[in-house]
Symmetry: none
DNA sequence: CATGAATGAGAGTTCATTCAT
DNA sequence: GATGAATGAACTCTCATTCAT
């Protein structure tokens, strides 16, 4: 029925609107400021309304962080379009990851640094969205291994190392621990580090 | 003179006491629980008194995180005692860093993840304590470079890369993003990654 | 006619369903948990629908408490089946009352303690269901008086006294004011009190 | 020191003021309306201030109900002044209890009907204030028993029965379940019931 | 020096109820 | 007849901070 469909669509739109707003607020003002009330104010609904669409605050931020992963997954997929060489794929995905983090630092925070979204995961559940993103990285690395293009043979170790390296880079930057490097064209330096890392793991 | 000196000494002692207590509380109960009132209660002074010694909460946590750095610097100094080989120094310092993080996760949080302590830095100031620690790492790496033991020649890039890698490892663990690896002897895997990293950067 | 009748019947069925559900919920989870939404959820209708059948929450609880009275009246009727001696009837009805209260404490609450159901009574109305139950007690007591089996001659005073005594017993228990007696086989003590009361009012 | 004493006194006065206000509000508007905010508004302090003097809402209402018991105990003590005959003491204490309940119905509610104050008692604690009041009743009854003035020999049963009877009377009245008797000079009838009860338990 | 007292601002959440559709 | 959507008005409680004394 057209009516049911429309209602369903409206409902989804409202959810999307809440999520979009929540996202905006903490991108602009940080996670701490993103209270239920603040969201409600901005969409010009009452706080109670929010609870019609989400169980509690954690559910909202878990959903927002899923949105973030959709975007990141998208970026990392686009990043290798038309590229066949697995090392080049790795490089491009690394840069895409960094770019995402710098363009959306609050979102990156939520996705990879804050405790909040993980706390809303019940024990039985799994960090699905994080996993999907992780799989993308694994694919590229698996190809690198299969084609003997990198000097690491264990997939787990390779993935963990590369991800950790990338996360360390961006999170130290985001949380302002790279002050010592400021003034030296920090972002250039970071890109240089990624490049260096690739040179190191590359076979020959 | 004696009087002034005593006053000065008293003041320092009080500061130290507050810091020690603040440290205790959030090592035991986490950052969230370490409210001004909680600290005041434990030292049996009033909250207002704390403001005689510290400008605000962030300043306290900045100072506490300095304590953390003293301990980390100590660990990293001990780690290389009697070791001359720079690569071995690097390995031991890496493990010491990891050990510190896992044994003091709340402190590591404060030192390298939380925004709070950095927010108390005025623009003119510098992250001194972080710097000292950083310098230790630089020394080892500089020796590695000088003696051509690693495949990186730029000190900045080398330090940034190695530190990022280490920080990524421990912070993803602390913030629970390594769920995918759980069950695979996570800590073993992490140590394996560090070892792998050393193999990669080592010359020959 | 048929249509109107059916509609009328449907309406009554819906009311009954709502009441039955409301009753269930607070028997299981207590008065506090029995929100309009909780009822609506369980019957799988919307909260708004409930307002088509009941003016407000109090009216629902008034009706539910009527259900309770139906059950209590039933118990008190069964209690004297085959018993002719009015004193014995009194005893059995007393025990039946106590039993009902202990087996349905939340319902007893609603019937005799909570304000909610009485608040829905307009001034002109009368507490009919309470009255019916009251009448049963009066009948037995009237017989006791007529046959000179008790030492009280005024029906009002006798009824008020006996009911008050019974209600006092069970309500102090339900609301946890008998802590001092805990450990002394409280329920035994209470039955002893009832028996004692009967001995006291009995003639000879 | 005078200063310390004054401060101590001020503190106690503030506590008393909060309690007095809390009491007023729910005497005037009922327990449900007696929110922390309502209290704060009336004393023209902020809600947060209340928490400087009381741990939480339950503690306030527990304290208020203690005040009530002080008053009740006082009334019940005065009630027997100059009276030696234990039966007469019992009568006077019964009337004093009833009078208290009718003059302070909301307070009686809190003391003997509402769950709230009991919930704030930890398991280890005991309902001290209720106990003290209870003891008064016991004393009188014990004397009645010792002097063989009543037809009950078991102190527990006697106390439980008499208290229950009295509580039943006043609580059914307070909670509006005596509608059937309205118009018959309800309060007279109730006093008649008390008198009747005394006649029944009296020896000879 | 130390503090008791106070607070403004804000948090998340729940509920009975209404009304256009 | 039924309801989805919405809300206003509450609720308790916590916190960093200030200031007169």
């Amino acid at each position: 029925m057209g009516i049911l469909e429309r209602k369903e669509r409206d409902k989804l739109e409202m959810r999307a609107m809440i999520l979009e707003t929540a996202q905006q607020i903490f991108i602009e003002e940080g996670f701490e400021k993103a209270s239920i009330r603040a969201i409600a104010d901005r969409i010009e609904y009452s706080p109670a309304t929010i609870y019609l669409y989400f169980k509690d605050k954690n559910e909202i931020f878990f959903s927002v962080h899923e949105l973030g992963f959709q975007r990141l997954i998208n970026e990392m997929t686009l990043a290798i379009e038309g590229i066949d060489d697995p090392i080049e794929q790795l490089r491009q995905r690394g840069f895409a990851y960094m770019k995402f983090a710098f363009e959306n630092p609050e979102m990156y925070d939520l996705m990879f640094i804050l405790n909040a979204p993980m706390e809303s995961l019940k024990d039985s559940e799994i960090w699905t969205c994080g996993h999907e993103c992780f799989v993308l990285l694994c694919e590229t690395i698996q190809r690198c291994i299969d084609e003997k293009r990198i000097r690491i043979s264990n997939l787990y170790i390779a993935t963990m190392s590369i991800w950790s390296f990338m996360h360390g880079l961006v999170s130290l930057k985001i949380r302002n621990r790279f002050q010592k490097f400021e003034g030296v064209e920090l972002e250039e330096l970071m890109k240089g580090s990624v490049e260096q890392m690739i040179q190191l793991i590359k076979n020959e």
